[in-house]
C-alpha cells in the first residue's frame, strides 16, 4: 500500500489545548475511504509527550528529549511542564486500569469481558477492583470459550455496547481467530457499512521470562493481514493509558497489544484527561545518523543499545511505531528522509512479522531516500524455548542492535 499517511492530522486532543472536547467521529477510520484526504502543510504536530511544535524539525528539541537510560522515567521538565498539575506516578498496568476506569465512568456502555477479569481482577491486575465498582455484568467473568465470548463481544458492539475483550494471554486469541477475522474485521464491510464494531481486544503478549513456547507468542504478526482492524502496541504507562482510552473511544475494532514484561514500568503521568492518537508513532529520541524503528518491549533494548551507541559517537533516532496497523508512514518517512538509514528492531518472528511488512512499506515508499538496505532484526523463527539462556538467544539483544547500527553506518 503506497499511501503516505498523515497520522497526526486527525487528532489534536491533548489536554494542553484549551477546549478539551473530544469528538469520536474524528477517529473514524474507514478502510474504504481513499487516503487522499491530506491537509495543507500548515498543521499542528501534537507530540505524545505533550509538547507541541508547529514544524516538523525536531532539532531544537533534541537535547530536551534525550533519554539517558532505558527506563521510562522521563525528565519532569519535558512531560510535566505542559501540564498544570503535578501528575501521579504509577505502574503500566495501573495506567491501563486508570484509562479503562475513566472510560467506564465516562460512558456506561463500556464494559469488560474476559477470563478472570471480574472477581480475580485480571491475571495482570489490569481490571483489579473494577468488578466491585461497576458490577458483575459490566466486568464480566466469562467461561473459557475465547471464540464465543469474543463473538459475543462483537455482537454486543454491533447492538450498541462498547466492549473491551481481554485475552488472558494474546496467544489464547488464536482460538478467537474465526471471530476476529470474519466478524471483527470484515463485518463492517460485508454489511455495507451498516454496522460498526467499536470493540477493543487487548491482552499481554510477547516473550516473557521462561513462559514457554505457547505463552510467548506474538499475535500481531498473525492478525496484521486481517482487513478492517486496527492494531496498536503500548510501551509506557503514558501511552498505555492514552492508547487504551483512544481505542475505547474509536468506532473501529482496535487490538491493543500489551507486553508481559512491561506491566511494572513506572512513570509519572498527567492528571488531566488525555489520549494518544491511535495512528501516530512516538519519537523517543531524535537523531541524525540512523532511524531505528521499534515497538513494545524492544523499545527498551533499543534505548539500552542507544546508550552504547552514543558513547561510541553515533546519533540514532529512535521511533516507537506504536501503530502496528496502519503504520505512521508520515513520521517514519520524515525520519528516513533525514537519516537515510533504517534499522527495524522487533520481537516478531523473522518470517511474516510486523518488521517484514514495515520493510516492504518503507522500500515501496521511500526507496530513493535510502543509502543502505534496511536491516530488520527480529526474533528467530523458532518456538520460544523454556530455558532462559536459549530464550534470550531467540530475542533481539542490545548488543545485536549496536552491531547492526555500526554495520549500517559504515
Amino acid at each position: 500500500m503506497a499511501a503516505i499517511f498523515q497520522g497526526v492530522g486527525a487528532a489534536a486532543a491533548l489536554s494542553s489545548l484549551p477546549s478539551n472536547s473530544f469528538d469520536s467521529k474524528n477517529f473514524l477510520f474507514s478502510p474504504r475511504r481513499s487516503f487522499s484526504v491530506r491537509k495543507a502543510p500548515s498543521f499542528v504536530v501534537v507530540r505524545s509527550d505533550g509538547t507541541m511544535n508547529l514544524d516538523l524539525n525536531p532539532k531544537g528539541r533534541r537535547a530536551q528529549q534525550f533519554i539517558a537510560n532505558a527506563v521510562t522515567t522521563k525528565e519532569d521538565s519535558s512531560a510535566a511542564s505542559s501540564f498544570s498539575k503535578p501528575g501521579n506516578e504509577l505502574l503500566l498496568f495501573e495506567a491501563l486500569r486508570e484509562g479503562l476506569e475513566e472510560e467506564m465512568e465516562r460512558d456506561p456502555r463500556v464494559c469488560v469481558m474476559g477470563e478472570d477479569v471480574g472477581h480475580y481482577g485480571g491475571s495482570y491486575k489490569v481490571t483489579k477492583g473494577l468488578a466491585k465498582k461497576f458490577g458483575d455484568l459490566r466486568v464480566l467473568d466469562t467461561p473459557i470459550a475465547e471464540n464465543s465470548f469474543t463473538g459475543m463481544g462483537i455482537g454486543a458492539a454491533m447492538t450498541g455496547l462498547r466492549p473491551v475483550v481481554e485475552g488472558m494471554n494474546m496467544g489464547f486469541l488464536l482460538l478467537a481467530f474465526n471471530q476476529i477475522s470474519n466478524n471483527c474485521g470484515m463485518l463492517h464491510y460485508t454489511s455495507g457499512g451498516q454496522f460498526t464494531i467499536p470493540i477493543v481486544i487487548r491482552g499481554p503478549g510477547g516473550v516473557g521470562r521462561q513462559l514457554g513456547a505457547e505463552h510467548s507468542q506474538r499475535l500481531e504478526s498473525y492478525f496484521q493481514s486481517i482487513p478492517g482492524i486496527q492494531m496498536v502496541a503500548c510501551s509506557t504507562p503514558y501511552n498505555a493509558k492514552g492508547l487504551m482510552k483512544a481505542a475505547i473511544r474509536s468506532e473501529n475494532p482496535v487490538i491493543l497489544f500489551e507486553h508481559v514484561l512491561l506491566y511494572n514500568l513506572k512513570e509519572r503521568i498527567p492528571d488531566e484527561d488525555y489520549i494518544c492518537n491511535l495512528e501516530e508513532a512516538e519519537m523517543v529520541r531524535p537523531g541524525e545518523h540512523v532511524t531505528i524503528l521499534t515497538y513494545s518491549r524492544m523499545r527498551y533494548h533499543v534505548m539500552q543499545a542507544a546508550k552504547t551507541l552514543v558513547n561510541k559517537g553515533y546519533d540514532p533516532e529512535v521511533i516507537d511505531i506504536r501503530s502496528l496497523k496502519p503504520f505512521d508512514l508520515y513520521t517514519i518517512g520524515n525520519s528516513v528522509k533525514k537519516t537515510h538509514r533504517v534499522l527495524i528492531v522487533e520481537e516478531c518472528m523473522r518470517t511474516g512479522g510486523i518488521g517484514a511488512s514495515l520493510t516492504a512499506a518503507i522500500t515501496e515508499n521511500f526507496h530513493d531516500y535510502l543509502d543502505a538496505p534496511i536491516i530488520c532484526l527480529s526474533s528467530q523463527d523458532v518456538p520460544t524455548p523454556y530455558a532462559g539462556t536459549l530464550e534470550e538467544w531467540t530475542v533481539v539483544q542490545p548488543a545485536q542492535i549496536v552491531a547492526a547500527v555500526e554495520q549500517l553506518c559504515q
Partner: protein
C-alpha cells in the same frame, strides 16, 4: 412463505442463467420455520442466521428488491453489493447477519442478547426485553461455538432462542453419520435450558412453540433450544448435484410441503378460500 418460495425459485433461475454467481443456498421447503418464528418478532428483536436465509431476511422485513439486488452484486443491494448472498445484514430491521461460516453467528446473537440484558440491568432502559433469535442447521450442532453459547446463554439467562433447522443434511453429510446423539433438542437440558422438538414443516405448530420460547426469553426466564425437523427440497447450494439423498426421502417430505399444508388447513377450516390464496400467489 409464498413470497419466500417464489423468491428462491427466481434465484435459482437467475443462477442457472448465469446472472448470479458464487454460492447461493436456497430455502425451499423450510419456509415454515422462518415464518413461524420471525413473524412473532418486533422490529427491535434481532435475528442471526447462517447462509441459507434469504427468506429469513424477507420475513424480518427487508424488501425483496434489496435482497435480490444484493444477490446480484448491485450497489442498491442491502449491503451495497459488498456482502452477497451469504452476508445479508440490515441495521434497520435488526438482521445481524447471515454468516458464511457455520456457527460464527451464534456468538453474535448471544452478544445481541447480552446487550438486551445489559440495557435492562445496567443502563436501566425502559422497554427493552428485546429477544435475539439465531437460526442454524444440524451441521452446526456439532460445532464448538454452539455448545459454548448454550453454556453462556443459560449461565446468564440471556434472552435468546436457539433455533435448529434440522434438515438432516450438511451438504452431503447425513446428520445421522455425523452426530453421536442425533436428537439435538436433548442437548438443551444438558446446559440447563428447555429443549423442544417440533415439526418444522407445519407453520402453525412452529408458531406455537415459537410463541412460548420467545415469551420465555422476553420475560427474562432465559434461553430455549428448539429443534425444527424440516427438509430442503433443493440441494445444499445451487452448485450441489444432490445425488446422495434418497428420492424416497425427498418425496416423503415433499408431501409435507409447508405451503401446501397451510393452504389445505386454511381451506378446510374456512379461514380463506381458493380465490384469496390465488391472490397471494399473484402478488
Amino acid at each position: 412463505m409464498v413470497l419466500g418460495r417464489a423468491f428462491e425459485d427466481k434465484c435459482a433461475k437467475m443462477y442457472y442463467d448465469r446472472k448470479m454467481l458464487g454460492f447461493v443456498h436456497l430455502y425451499n421447503g423450510q419456509e415454515a420455520v422462518s415464518t413461524g418464528f420471525i413473524r412473532l418478532l418486533k422490529q427491535q428483536d434481532s435475528i442471526v442466521c447462517t447462509y441459507r436465509d434469504h427468506v429469513q431476511a424477507l420475513s424480518k422485513g427487508l424488501s425483496a428488491r434489496a435482497v435480490m439486488s444484493e444477490l446480484l452484486g448491485k450497489a442498491t443491494g442491502c449491503c451495497r453489493g459488498q456482502g452477497g448472498s451469504m452476508h445479508i445484514f440490515s441495521r434497520k430491521h435488526n438482521m445481524l447477519g447471515r454468516f458464511a461460516f457455520i456457527g460464527e453467528g451464534i456468538p453474535i446473537a448471544t452478544g445481541a442478547a447480552f446487550t438486551s440484558k445489559y440495557k435492562r440491568e445496567v443502563l436501566k432502559e425502559a422497554d427493552c426485553g428485546h429477544v435475539s433469535l439465531t437460526f442454524f442447521g444440524d451441521g452446526t450442532c456439532n460445532n464448538g461455538q454452539f455448545y459454548e453459547c448454550l453454556n453462556m446463554a443459560a449461565l446468564w439467562k440471556l434472552p435468546i432462542v436457539f433455533v435448529v433447522e434440522n434438515n438432516l443434511w450438511a451438504i452431503g453429510m447425513s446428520h445421522l453419520r455425523a452426530t453421536s446423539v442425533p436428537q439435538i433438542y436433548k442437548k438443551g437440558p444438558a446446559f440447563g435450558m428447555p429443549g423442544v422438538h417440533v415439526d418444522g414443516m407445519d407453520v402453525l405448530k412452529v408458531r406455537e412453540v415459537a410463541k412460548e420460547a420467545i415469551g420465555r426469553a422476553r420475560r427474562g426466564e432465559g434461553p430455549t433450544l428448539v429443534e425444527c425437523e424440516t427438509y430442503r427440497f433443493r440441494g445444499h447450494s445451487l452448485a450441489d448435484p444432490d445425488k446422495l439423498r434418497d428420492p424416497a426421502e425427498k418425496a416423503h417430505y415433499a408431501a409435507r410441503d409447508p405451503i401446501t399444508a397451510l393452504k389445505k388447513y386454511l381451506i378446510e377450516n374456512s379461514l380463506a378460500n381458493e380465490a384469496d390464496l390465488k391472490a397471494i400467489d399473484k402478488r
